[in-house]
């Protein structure tokens, strides 16, 4: 599991450019699924058939990660960019960014009189080009780059640039590997474009038309020094979402997940998030509505190059996802 999540995190999957990761995930899950396809938004939709083909459980983990998009290259070869997804200018200071073709640059900043003058448009990327022509030969307006950081295991925890949401992808892949026979048809969706508004999950849900859906994604923790007031603690197990800004988890789904975790002695906690959203936000509004919940993985330092998750929390999330697949769906 730690090797899988590190490998996935090291992949580059900027919002809207998830192809390389999608191909890797497709080859990883191919032995464990009956059908695989992609769609216009870039989603990977995998079907694992179960006993009852009249019901469809959709599980969604997004592939994309926050990054930046090139908007301008000047005659000295400096590259300007705008964020794709929720990324803060202070997080980018001093970072290296990598393009999918392997090109790396460092983030610089114009001279600031005071740090509060820091804004995204005052940052630039320096790819080591001697002039505009050299830079323009390597990079085009519209190209996307992400944090350049290699994942490491530290104790029982993993630090990497894209735990959001390779942690969720790893959980879903591992659950597909270990599940014996699903109770109903399981649609494992590795979704695109979550970080700009869960766009991929919406079209995937329309296609799948699920009986019930559960997103698998990371959630911020409230257990760091003088941090936010949030009940979720790292290492306290998988989190069952009650709400965030995009979703009120369907009570039947929330109760179902709770009963499964209790029955199998899987450590879990409830999550109430006053902001944020996941794939569940667009899935639950698809067509005539879908009973939807979320299995969350506690994650510190979200949307930075050093996102951290706990391997025991991941294991709890995998076991809960397998139980969910193997149990008949409740009536919502």
């Amino acid at each position: 599991m730690d090797a899988l999540i590190c490998a996935l995190s090291n992949r580059l999957a900027p919002v809207g450019q998830e192809f390389a990761l999608r191909d890797e995930i497709a080859s990883l899950v191919q032995p464990y699924v009956d059908e695989l396809r992609t769609d216009a938004l870039g989603n990977l939709i995998a079907l694992r058939r179960g006993k009852n083909s009249a019901q469809r459980l959709m599980l969604s983990a997004h592939m994309d990660e926050v990054g930046v998009m090139v908007t301008h290259i000047d005659d000295d070869g400096f590259i300007r960019f705008e964020p794709l997804g929720g990324i803060q200018p202070q997080t980018l200071l001093g970072q290296r960014l990598r393009f999918p073709n392997g090109l790396v640059g460092s983030v610089g900043v114009e001279r600031l009189d005071q740090i509060k003058d820091l804004e995204m448009r005052r940052l630039y990327l320096d790819i080591g080009a001697r002039d505009g022509d050299e830079a323009r030969a390597k990079v085009r307006v519209g190209d996307t780059a992400c944090f350049d950081q290699t994942a490491v295991v530290s104790g029982r925890r993993v630090i990497g640039k894209a735990m959001d949401n390779r942690a969720g992808c790893a959980v879903l892949i591992e659950a597909l590997r270990r599940v014996s026979e699903p109770a109903c048809d399981v649609y494992a969706v590795f979704s695109a474009q979550e970080e700009v508004g869960a766009r991929g999950a919406g079209t995937a849900a329309y296609a799948v038309e699920p009986t019930m859906a559960v997103a698998i994604d990371v959630t911020p923790c409230g257990d760091t020094p003088k941090g936010e007031t949030l009940a979720v603690r790292m290492g306290a197990g998988a989190a069952i979402k009650i709400k965030d800004r995009s979703l009120l988890a369907h009570p039947v789904v929330k109760d179902h997940l709770t009963r499964l975790a209790d029955a199998a002695s899987i450590p879990y906690q409830y999550e109430v998030l006053p902001y944020g959203g996941t794939d569940a936000g667009t899935i639950h509004l698809s067509r005539t509505g879908v009973p939807t919940g979320v299995i969350s993985i506690p994650c510190r330092y979200l949307h930075t190059p050093s996102e951290m998750v706990d391997l025991d929390d991941l294991e709890a999330a995998v076991r809960l996802t397998i139980k969910l697949m193997e149990t008949q769906l409740p009536t919502a």
Partner: protein
């Protein structure tokens, strides 16, 4: 030319019927069938029974403007903005109010009557009014009713080196490009949608995409252009005269990479100038179309327009011609058999 007439028609979001009537008359003899829906979107189909992918071409008919929300005792009209308008561009502007196109001027307290603190603050929408030359509420009510729309009243004129000025180039220039496209023969099904209420949140396009269920969609727009000396290169979203702009990503959508590549290839093979839009602000109908049902590949072709969402915007007529050529080159690059090029 139809852009001149199109731009001068009032058509604030929610009040697009005059634009729709003009477009319907302009395309009637060039399309197979045409209808409007309950929201006011105008659809036109060409080559319905031809083989090949069904491509939606979309331009929105509505423009930003004002709506009368108060009639004062002194006969002045209070208003709210419909769509994104900076109140600082409004004082002294000539407008047309309601279906009878009652003329009015946007007034504000003159500077010598303002307190020093008022002079230092930016103008707020609440402090402005429309003056239609009525002396009392009764007189004003005989000409204008609450809820009447007011649109900018700007003549279309050409000037400079191939430039034109007018109102509502966002998105009458897209409508113009689409009309010109429909006047040409097609090789596979072309589904045209002239949409409503884009400026209020892509509302018309959402139902239009559901109605047409296309295999791909191209949104035709007028987009921001801030190629001014005072703006750093990386704040200039497009350049006037640089050809139509292709969007990679904005707030509403990320262009389908395959469709964007198809457009770029078409432009390069046809020798049509184009540019990539350099900012990610704003949104277009592409956002609503892309997420319709199972998802639709989308891309956006925009004519650069300076000063959009103001009483006078400005464009370069060469960019308009190049946009028409690019759309034509794109449609001609799509084979009638096999996978469309954006799916490879």
């Amino acid at each position: 030319m139809s852009l001149s007439e199109l731009s001068q028609i009032p058509g604030v979001s929610g009040d697009e019927q005059a634009v729709r009537a003009f477009i319907a008359a302009a395309i009637r003899e060039h399309v197979d069938r045409m209808w409007a829906d309950s929201m006011g979107n105008l659809f036109a189909i060409k080559g319905e029974h031809l083989p090949g992918p069904r491509v939606m071409l979309c331009a929105h008919m509505d423009e930003v403007g004002l709506i009368v929300n108060h009639i004062g005792d002194d006969g002045t009209l209070g208003f709210a903005a419909v769509g994104g308008i900076d109140p600082r561009v409004l004082p002294g502007v000539w407008v047309q109010v309601g279906p009878d196109r009652i003329p009015g001027v946007i007034g504000t307290k003159p500077p010598h009557l303002k307190s020093s603190s008022e002079r230092e603050k930016p103008i707020e929408m609440d402090s402005l009014y429309i003056d239609i030359g009525a002396d009392s509420a009764d007189e004003a009510k005989q000409r204008v009713h609450l809820g009447a729309y007011a649109s900018f009243w700007t003549d279309f004129e050409t000037f400079g080196d191939g430039c034109a000025k007018g109102k509502a180039f966002d998105d009458r220039v897209g409508c113009h490009v689409l009309i010109e496209t429909l006047r040409q023969p097609v090789r596979h099904p072309v589904l045209a949608a002239f949409t409503v209420q884009e400026e209020l949140g892509l509302r018309g396009a959402q139902v239009a995409a559901y109605t047409l269920k296309p295999d791909a969609a191209l949104v035709l727009e007028g987009t921001t252009c801030a190629d001014l000396p005072s703006v750093d290169g990386h704040g200039q979203s497009t350049r006037l005269g640089g050809g139509p702009a292709l969007t990679v990503a904005d707030r509403s959508a990320i262009a389908h990479p395959g469709l964007l590549r198809t457009l770029i290839n078409a432009a390069e093979s046809a020798g049509t100038p184009y540019q990539l839009k350099r900012t990610t602000f704003g949104g277009t109908d592409a956002g609503a179309i892309q997420t319709s049902e199972v998802g639709i590949p989308v891309a956006v072709v925009s004519v650069p327009c300076r000063y959009i969402h103001s009483p006078v915007s400005m464009l370069q007529l060469n960019d308009v011609q190049a946009a028409i050529q690019l759309v034509r080159a794109f449609l001609q690059a799509i084979p009638t058999e096999g996978d469309p090029p954006w799916m490879r």
